[in-house]
């Protein structure tokens, strides 16, 4: 189709550059190349370097790098902190994403209906997602404060748990994990909600009308029609939630720094404290690579999903 234009008379004496600018095949390659080069250099290369480091003895200060095989991985797997971090990471991800999906579905249904001040409600609901995570976490650090926690004050005034109820949120391991889960739910719910909401909006209204005429009530319509239709889009929201929670370092870093006594360490934070603060780059690189299998699994699911979306 394009070739008919390039051979048009007014292009006959066009120079090499102009011919180049007209050759769709070459043009698209030239336009794509810089972006792909940047990504290969700044994602692909560091990733390969990370693989290499994990098999070496590199530290922040070392000049020579020795190959040590799987020594780093042996050290990691033998460490109790590793298994604790892995357990925490999985626990935090699974529980938080369960609540994210439940909450996002409820909130998206509520936002589907038109009401006054809807734009303002949407703005408030989106805040946790748009605000920098480190700053949102600082806000929670203040909410969970050991002396001035507003949650404790409120609960005590209501008299829910008696006058001696004063949990130290970030000081007790199980409560600290719960706090980290709460902040992760808080941060991901807005994103999951807008994604599910987009799915709900795309369902043609006549499907509901037809079902209502047939006598299907709200719950029946919801579970037999809406839920299956938004299942794929909910899966997309879940995949993003898993990636963002599983690989997150910031919430733990700001709230607990892995404490007390490494009890709330997750894989990403432990990699940071080992690799950057401890200077053991090789160990840190090896730890962070344990995040990779989940990434691959999610990527495969995305590819499957994209193919499906293409077909339908």
């Amino acid at each position: 189709m394009i070739d008919t234009y390039t051979t048009a008379p007014n292009r006959a004496e066009a120079g090499l550059l102009a011919r180049f600018a007209d050759n769709e095949r070459w043009l698209s390659r030239v336009m794509l190349a810089p972006a792909i080069l940047y990504i290969v250099l700044l994602v692909g290369f560091p990733f390969l370097l990370s693989l290499f480091y994990s098999l070496s003895s590199v530290t922040v200060a070392s000049r020579e790098i020795h190959f040590v095989g799987l020594e780093n991985f042996r050290r990691i797997v033998e460490s109790g902190t590793f298994w604790l971090s892995l357990k925490n990471t999985i626990l935090i991800t699974v529980i938080s994403q369960f609540f994210v999906i439940v909450f996002a579905n409820i909130l998206a249904m509520a936002l589907l209906v038109d009401f006054r001040v809807k734009w303002f409600v949407r703005f408030l609901v989106l805040l946790p997602w748009v605000a920098p995570i480190s700053l949102g976490s600082i806000g929670w650090l203040w909410i969970f404060d050991s002396i001035y926690s507003i949650i404790n004050w409120t609960v005590r005034v209501i008299g829910l748990f008696g006058p001696n109820f004063w949990p130290i949120w970030l000081g007790q391991p199980d409560l600290a994990i719960a706090s980290i889960i709460i902040v992760n739910v808080w941060r991901i719910v807005p994103l999951a909600t807008v994604i599910v909401l987009a799915g709900l909006t795309s369902i043609p209204k006549d499907i509901h009308d037809a079902a209502a005429v047939d006598g299907a009530g709200f719950w029946r319509r919801h579970f037999q029609i809406t839920a299956p239709l938004i299942m794929p889009i909910t899966l997309v929201a879940l995949l993003f939630g898993i990636i963002f929670t599983f690989t997150d370092l910031i919430v733990v870093f700001v709230l607990t720094r892995g404490g007390p006594y490494d009890q709330t360490q997750v894989i990403a934070s432990w990699a940071y404290f080992t690799g950057i603060q401890g200077g053991d780059l090789a160990g840190g690189a090896a730890i962070s690579l344990f995040l990779f299998p989940v990434l691959v699994a999610v990527a495969v699911l995305f590819l499957w999903f994209a193919r499906r979306a293409e077909v339908t």
Binding site: M31, A35, P128, S134, I138, V194, G275
Partner: protein, 284 residues
């Protein structure tokens, strides 16, 4: 159905709807409301455990904001964030606009695969790459320099913006370009003179998205930068203002609000476009 019963049912539905919204708005927006109160309360009021924390027991004060702007490097951090954001946005546009267009106009199965492949690199988290980057940045001599962030941040803004822009360019009818070709423009000329002007909304979305990602980034910032004058906002506030055992809660909460709310307001206008990108184009 009995009209009284039907009415009762409608009121019940509305009350349930309102209750759900109140619950979620409270949960999601409460930290920001508490930031707002804390920013304007006196330290004495904040540190009195007998005072009702929801009320101003002392008159509101601007003290914390004064401390924030006069006695900390907060303003510098804002400027640093703006500088890094602007530089990253420019690099992102230069790389992602042509790439997005090329992907949108390429045909064949591998173009789609390539597009998804680029999008997937957005999901590679900083927590996998920050350790090798720490050494790369040291070898390049960029530690403590904002340029280290300018160099590395496009590694996640370019993939997502390329994907986002590809969606925009796909929505532009090819006929428009073909008409321009007949008028004597080259294929590239048609892209610059015809496609780009009508894609301004798409490019603006990419700008806002790239800038938001820069303001949110923490892991690379805390890894590459150690001197407080080179911090960005998202790193400076949680690391510098918490140092030691003294927490400047009033100033910290003020800083969080100032750095979060303006960008959230802008983001709110564009959120539907991001969703199209996030849902892998399955929802139009």
């Amino acid at each position: 159905m009995n009209p009284v019963l039907a009415r009762a049912r409608m009121v019940g539905t509305r009350a349930g709807h309102a209750a759900i919204l109140v619950f979620f708005v409270t949960f999601l927006a409460f930290p920001f409301y508490w930031m707002l109160l804390t920013t304007f309360k006196t330290t004495q009021d904040l540190h009195s455990t007998t005072n009702n924390p929801y009320l101003f027991n002392d008159p509101p004060t601007l003290h914390h904001l004064r401390v924030l702007f006069n006695d900390t490097q907060f303003l510098q951090w804002l400027l640093n964030t703006g500088f890094v954001g602007a530089a990253v946005v420019i690099i992102t546009l230069v790389l992602a606009v042509p790439a997005g267009y090329a992907l949108a106009r390429m045909t064949g199965a591998w173009a789609q695969t390539l597009g998804i492949g680029i999008f997937l690199t957005y999901l590679v988290p900083p927590t996998i790459l920050f350790i090798p980057f720490a050494r790369i940045i040291a070898v390049l001599g960029l530690q403590d320099s904002l340029w280290s962030l300018v160099l590395v941040y496009p590694s996640f803004t370019v993939p997502f913006c390329t994907w986002l822009l590809m969606g925009f360019f796909k929505a532009i009818p090819r006929d428009l370009e073909d008409a321009a070709l007949i008028d004597g423009l080259s294929r590239f000329g048609a892209f610059v003179k015809v496609v780009m002007p009508i894609s301004l909304a798409g490019m603006l979305t990419a700008v806002i998205f790239a800038f938001t990602l820069v303001t949110q980034e923490f892991v690379y910032g805390v890894t590459f930068i150690t001197s407080s004058s080179s911090y960005t906002v998202s790193v400076g506030v949680p690391t510098f203002l918490v140092r030691g055992d003294v927490y400047f809660w009033g100033s910290m909460m003020g800083a969080c609000l100032i750095a979060s709310v303006p960008i959230a307001i802008i983001y709110n206008f564009f959120v539907d476009r991001f969703v199209v990108g996030f849902t892998v184009g399955a929802v139009k």
